[in-house]
Symmetry: C2
Subunit: 473 residues, 2 copies
């Protein structure tokens, strides 16, 4: 999933209703593209293959971690499917990805009583010795509290019981701040002498369902194993310790890194009619964590991009520029696919008119975030996007926000590529995210259709508009 | 949890606001008991030990299936705790209970691809051979569809994919109708030649969280193993089969019945000041399924009853009749505790002025259901309960409904004991029910306090009112 650079965004434009017709130059984007946008929306709503593709991916392949046979299978499926849809230049673009293997794992509480805890090792973690690591648990809320404990941490297992707040429509999910200890908890724990790190699962809602995700040993003095526990179990351990009880656990993890594996981004195009060397990328990531089905994260983003291209093609709407679908490999634990893309396409990046990523789940679309380094271009883009928002009004996808785009397209930022992210109603996303519960049934077909239409309209307008996004007309 | 005899109830009286003061005789129950009811409510709200007791039970003991060492531990804890609270006649009342052991279990899909499914064996099920049962899955919605398949069922594993509807405030949970295949699915499946039975978990909300519960071989020609699968996995198998795929699974269960074990109901009393031989029972069941912590089902009901008695005692409110807390054993899979109580107390049952059970979760109270066989007594009781509803108005617990009371107190029905059940806001109950997610954190302390107060007020008024509930004054 995408990692927002900050948790709250300034909402720059909300409702297209507030924008008078002909607000800017004439003929504006609204007048030029209203008919095409409506055609796209009506066609996608009348029938599209997004949900069927998602079912093929989720049920037919299942989860698909980098370096797994399932990801290879998903890549082959995407190539075949996009060829069958009649797209051009359908191809794999090779990239080496890290191969991390979970193996068997368990977390057994042995004091004050015996109990199996609900856990998932964190991606990238080292394993434990075969007999496991047995130690007393120390619970802290944050790094500051950990530091205050001094030498008492030595030899212990640290549990970061950092509570993710419930979703707030104004504040968003709170994921950005809550995920800190999943990413860096092991390094903090090792610095203070701990033998392993546990983190409360990064979610506000749980049915005893642990959530995995990437961790990092950056700045770590030693590599200690790291695992997420269900919020229920983290809360229980914290209560026991607050009651003065000594909590001892045995953590067993076979987790290991097995070097690199060959993988690929999957690419397909609708070649532009006039400036086909200029590119608008629409994208999602094909890899997932090794639990659930990767339905919201990010099967949904992939099928939106695939189906947006199909819808535009079937309507015979050949835009000025080329629209390129990219289904990234290895977003979850390395972003190696996007890194490779940036290398392989370095010469072409200045011709990227925009790169859009959908990696916030297959929910109802609310709008797009956009990311420019150049303030002058951002101001121009903002005005243009406010016009496009009016075209997206039938979908309710009218919020245009300066903010994070996506982890993959984010790699193009140094090259100055205009970046966009599809925003959706994220109120339930983190209930499922990186867990066994991220399955097809959690995706509403109507929501997926609406988001597919939003992607298609945005892609078509950015690929066809006379000037590029962020450039003076 | 309690098993309602029907899923919808006629709401007989809703808001106490609609009841004029002095509606019946003077002085009515309202005038007589308003001061005491308010004292009880204020005292319970000012501070009570219900949540602390629930934490001791959930964290200190955990789940506690009949015949398990944990249930013995819970029974001892309840005795000690009620003695420490200063109650009279605190004792265990012996009962033999069935001992069913889950053992290890797994459900592996082998076709169309390999995948571990999320499952929980059903309580009472037989196990499989050590190598498991491997067979093709047939999906049906109900018994009728199963019957229509004829000989095709033979040798297969039947999956009942009966979908429990989302909670509806007017209709309730829909549990009553949905639970049919959990209880009787194995018998249906065996009748048509199947080798095992799978049921979609009885819940409308899931994060890949299977729900166990009792099943029965009543009327079964053969005993075939039965397990619940997570709703997500049931839905996936149904989708695969709808796509024309053959689904094969291997079910392994070590489940076995190990005869009977010694157990006990736990009893404590506040002896009445005038007619101490007359009894008002307030109760919950101490046993739970062997997953989660049995927090809502039914640790909450137990601590409400315990703490209601403590609150009344601490206020020095000694009622006319005796209030007796009964913490039942074996509600979940046999109701052996209540059966034994009815035997042991047969002579005393005519002196039971009422028996109340709280077994719908530790949520916000909404009122009470009541169960009379005698229509004339029911009509009198209804008028009396409408008055008591007015006393419960500060708690919002004013709905008095004719309907099911509780599985345990229900055993006293043949003896003509007036039965009541505490009703609560059940909108989330089945999200947690019989699953790993039924843990302390799901219980809101304020809700538990309000329900405790409702139990205390009802118990006190029924124990102190001049005539008995349902008797002409």
């Amino acid at each position: 999933m995408k990692h927002p650079t900050h948790t709250t965004f300034a909402i720059i434009a909300i409702a297209s209703a507030a924008i008078p017709a002909h607000a800017n130059q004439a003929p504006g984007l609204v007048d030029q593209y209203r008919p095409a946008a409506n055609r796209i929306i009506n066609a996608v709503r009348a029938g599209n293959g997004a949900y069927d593709k998602l079912e093929q991916l989720c049920d037919g392949v299942g989860h698909r971690l980098s370096g797994s046979p399932q990801l290879d299978q998903a890549i082959d499926w995407a190539v075949q499917t996009m060829r069958a849809d009649g797209h051009e230049n359908v191809r794999k673009e090779h990239a080496m990805v890290p191969r991390w293997v979970r193996g068997r794992e368990s977390l057994l509480m042995t004091e004050p009583r015996a109990m199996d805890l609900a856990m998932l090792g964190l991606g990238g973690s080292v394993g434990t010795p075969p007999e496991g690591l047995t130690a007393e648990v120390i619970v802290v809320r944050d790094e500051k509290e950990l530091a205050s404990l001094g030498r008492r941490v030595s030899g212990k297992i640290v549990l970061f019981n950092n509570i993710m707040p419930a979703y707030d429509p104004r504040e968003g999910s709170g994921y950005g701040s809550a995920v800190k200890y999943r990413l860096a908890g092991a390094a903090f724990a090792a610095r203070h002498g701990a033998v392993a790190c546990l983190v409360r699962s990064v979610t506000a809602t749980s049915l005893r369902s642990p959530h995995t995700g990437a961790m990092s040993y950056e700045h770590a003095e030693r590599k200690v194993p790291a695992a997420a526990v269900a919020t229920e179990d983290a809360a229980m351990i914290a209560r026991m310790i607050a009651r003065g009880q000594r909590v001892v656990v045995t953590l067993k993890m076979e987790a290991r890194s097995e070097g690199e594996a060959s993988s690929a981004n999957v690419v397909a195009e609708l070649r532009g009619r006039e400036r086909s060397d200029e590119i608008v990328v629409i994208s999602g990531h094909l890899d997932s964590w090794d639990v659930g089905q990767g339905a919201h994260d990010d099967g949904s983003g992939c099928v939106m991009a695939m189906e947006a291209l199909t819808a535009i093609r079937r309507l015979g709407l050949t835009p000025r520029r080329t629209i390129r679908v990219v289904l990234w490999t290895n977003e979850e634990n390395g972003v190696a696919g996007a890194r490779q893309y940036v290398k392989d396409h370095a010469a072409e990046l200045p011709l990227h008119a925009a790169a859009i990523e959908a990696d916030s789940g297959g929910f109802r679309p609310t709008g797009f975030s956009f990311q420019f380094d150049d303030k002058r271009r951002e101001a121009i883009a903002q005005r243009q996007l406010e016009e496009i928002a009016s075209l997206l009004a039938p979908l309710g996808a009218t919020q245009m926000r300066a903010g994070g785009s996506g982890a993959d397209v984010g790699r193009m930022r140094p090259a100055g590529v205009p970046l966009l992210g599809l925003n959706v109603d994220g109120s339930r996303y983190f209930d499922y995210h990186h867990s066994q519960a991220d399955t097809l049934d959690k995706v509403n077909p109507t929501d997926l259709t609406e988001s597919t239409a939003a992607m298609a309209v945005m892609a078509y307008v950015l690929a066809d508009m006379p000037g590029r996004l962020g450039q003076p007309e």
